[in-house]
């Protein structure tokens, strides 16, 4: 065994700072590592997928008739299915990003993170890897839940352009919530803590227009329900898939999405790069 027989790596020739190319390369390496984790230990991934599917079936088949009677005046399970799917899809995004918060927090307790910090790799790579892996998992979940919805009779009337816009919205929202989740994971001392702090990601759709319109809520609460990020996300998706009016919700969704991406990234990066001894 001998160190010199190992030819010196390119990284051994010091550069003042890692270039964008190296950031992309290191992030891709970290993404591969996270996907390997997800493939090896799929329990968290399955759990994240199961919750929205169960809720979808529960709301359509158990509560659907009654809720639709309240909405349309007569029981119509099929109509409620159409109403609830966009809400369930956004809940899927929220729940899956909650999974990212837990896995980031778990990962930070691993000794290998300290090793990464003493290596000449891009500082952001660890986080970019988690975000890319998180968004990928969210999008897979969204596609699978959409498949279940179509299988039980969900019939959107979206044009190809609207489908594309819906996909873009889903990516934006998952990027926003995943960055937020990474920050939650970094700031929580334990995975249980991350799961608790991140609970609003799963609960906020209930406090918006996912299951019932915000008009039906008491006045003092309606204001919150109408402007919290999930309602514009859901209403915009509803409009794109089913042709309901989008109105101001499109801009609100875009604004919330971009703002949360920026804030989440700044927050996460500050948390990750702070000196652990201070």
């Amino acid at each position: 065994m001998s160190a010199p027989s190992l030819s010196p790596s390119p990284a051994a020739s010091p550069s003042p700072s890692p270039s964008l190319r190296l950031t992309v390369r290191d992030s891709a390496t970290m993404l591969r590592r996270n996907l390997l984790h997800a493939r090896r230990y799929p329990s968290l991934t399955l759990n994240v997928l199961l919750t929205p599917v169960v809720l979808l079936l529960l709301f359509v088949y158990v509560l659907g008739d009654t809720l639709s009677a309240g909405l349309a005046g007569h029981p119509d399970r099929g109509q409620y299915l159409a109403y609830v799917v966009p809400g369930i899809l956004m809940l899927t995004v929220g729940g899956a990003s909650l999974g990212t918060a837990v896995s980031v927090c778990t990962d930070m307790t691993e000794g290998i993170i300290a090793r990464f910090r003493t290596m000449a790799i891009s500082r952001g790579a660890v986080l970019f890897g988690h975000v890319a892996g998180g968004v990928l998992q969210v999008m897979i979940s969204v596609v699978l839940v959409t498949g279940v919805a179509l299988a039980i009779g969900f019939r959107p009337d979206a044009t190809p352009v609207e489908w594309l816009a819906a996909l873009g919205l889903a990516v934006l929202v998952s990027l926003a919530l995943t960055w937020l989740a990474v920050g939650i994971g970094l700031s929580s001392p334990t995975p249980e803590g991350a799961s608790n702090v991140g609970l609003p990601l799963l609960m906020l759709p209930f406090l918006g227009s996912a299951f019932v319109p915000v008009d039906s809520m008491p006045g003092w609460f309606r204001w919150f329900a109408e402007y919290q990020p999930f309602t514009p996300f859901i209403e915009t998706l509803r409009g794109l898939l089913l042709g309901s009016a989008i109105g101001k919700d499109g801009w609100l969704a875009l604004g919330w999405g971009v703002a949360l991406v920026v804030l989440g990234q700044l927050w996460s990066t500050a948390l990750f790069t702070r000196d652990p001894s201070r």
Binding site: M1, S2, A3, P4, S5, L6, S7, P8, S9, P10, A11, A12, S13, P14, S15, P16, S17, P18, L22, R25, D26, T29, R32, R33, L36, H37, R40, Y41, E110, G111, I112, A114, R115, F116, R117, T118, M119, A120, I121, D275, P276, S277, R278
Partner: protein, 338 residues
């Protein structure tokens, strides 16, 4: 501060002056100076909580210092951290392997992060796994490894990039004797290849065995620095120990040998001695003259344990150890330390 590397600093793998670190009110490192020549083993010795790990964390860019000038592998720690990281390898006190993936995947991950080509990465992975006796376990998740295997994988991962300066923070803590000796062999091989090793340990024989230079850290200060031999010379710890089973014989021996310190509970006498033939004969002559026979006679020469206890015993450790009392305390509690 000039950044041109002049001859003396170029030969130093690690050069620190006035290194300081405090956590809130608690000062952990109180102005440390270090000079580690390239291609040598430097051992930082100290009791738990002395600040060894903090020193390693600062030198390996993991945490920031509050003050002091530090150059590692010729680069300034504060302004050229990225270049320092490219030159070093770190194996911390706590395992830094990814437990969820296999040993081989861990190695390939390191190869990717060092931007080695696919073939190159595979070659080095295979080479190091073989060198560290991990070929059989390569396909198993690291979480299933024993302590010794995980430590070997940890060091193998550290070596992937061919680092010139390696930090090992208590690399043999918790290892069985065979794994420990294996680790020593690894460290010797590294140094033979020209790598600089910065080693912290609480095992004195380990520092004695491996280190070219040893520094003793206590209460955030370096209380002594030198080769193992130089440090041993600081402490007058040699003595001859006589053990008796018969209390009467013990009593008459104690009366005859007035300069001996007594331990009445275990019926042992301790006579200061450098372990030389002449002094030993004098002791035997005294015993003969007094007509007593000891059941056991042992010669104790000062070792690093004595140094360690003499230098780190009191909270206000003086740079020069005062006293015969300290080594005696050291010898008595030695067994509990090992």
């Amino acid at each position: 501060m000039t950044t041109t590397a002049t001859a003396p600093t170029r030969d130093l793998a690690i050069a620190a002056t006035g290194l300081r670190k405090a956590y809130g009110e608690k000062t952990v490192l109180d102005g440390i100076d270090l000079a580690v020549p390239a291609g040598t083993v430097f051992s930082l010795l100290g009791p738990n909580g002395a600040g060894k790990t903090t020193a390693v964390q600062i030198l390996s860019t993991l945490i920031g210092a509050d003050g002091g000038d530090v150059r590692v592998a010729g680069y300034d720690l504060a302004t050229q951290a990225h270049a320092v990281r490219a030159a070093i390898g770190v194996t911390g006190q706590f395992s830094a392997v990814d437990n969820l993936i296999t040993g081989e995947e861990n190695m390939l991950l390191m190869a990717d992060l060092h931007h080695l080509g696919r073939r190159e990465g595979r070659r080095i992975t295979a080479e190091l796994l073989a060198a560290f006796d991990l070929v059989e376990a390569a396909g198993k998740p690291a979480s299933t490894y024993s302590g010794g295997m995980r430590r070997r994988l940890d060091i193998a991962m550290t070596l992937v990039g061919g680092p010139r300066v390696i930090f090992l923070d208590e690399p043999t803590t918790g290892l069985d004797p065979r794994s420990r000796h294996g680790m020593w062999r690894i460290i010797r091989d590294l140094v033979a290849d020209g790598v600089t090793v910065f080693l912290t340990t609480q095992y004195l024989d380990e520092a004695d065995e491996l280190a070219d230079r040893i520094a003793v850290l206590d209460g955030g200060r370096l209380v002594a620095q030198g080769t193992a031999e130089e440090l041993k010379r600081l402490v007058p710890g040699g003595h001859v120990r006589l053990r008796f089973t018969d209390p009467a014989a013990y009593g008459s021996a104690a009366a005859a040998l007035r300069e001996a310190s007594r331990d009445d509970a275990s019926l042992t006498l301790r006579i200061p001695s450098d372990g030389g033939q002449r002094q030993l004969r004098a002791v035997l002559d005294w015993l003969d003259t007094a007509g007593v026979e000891a059941d056991e006679l042992t010669v104790h020469t000062p070792d690093l344990d004595d140094v360690f206890f003499a230098l780190t015993a009191s909270p206000t450790s003086p740079a020069s150890p005062s006293a015969p009392a300290a080594p005696a305390a050291g010898a008595d509690s030695k067994e509990t330390v090992r």
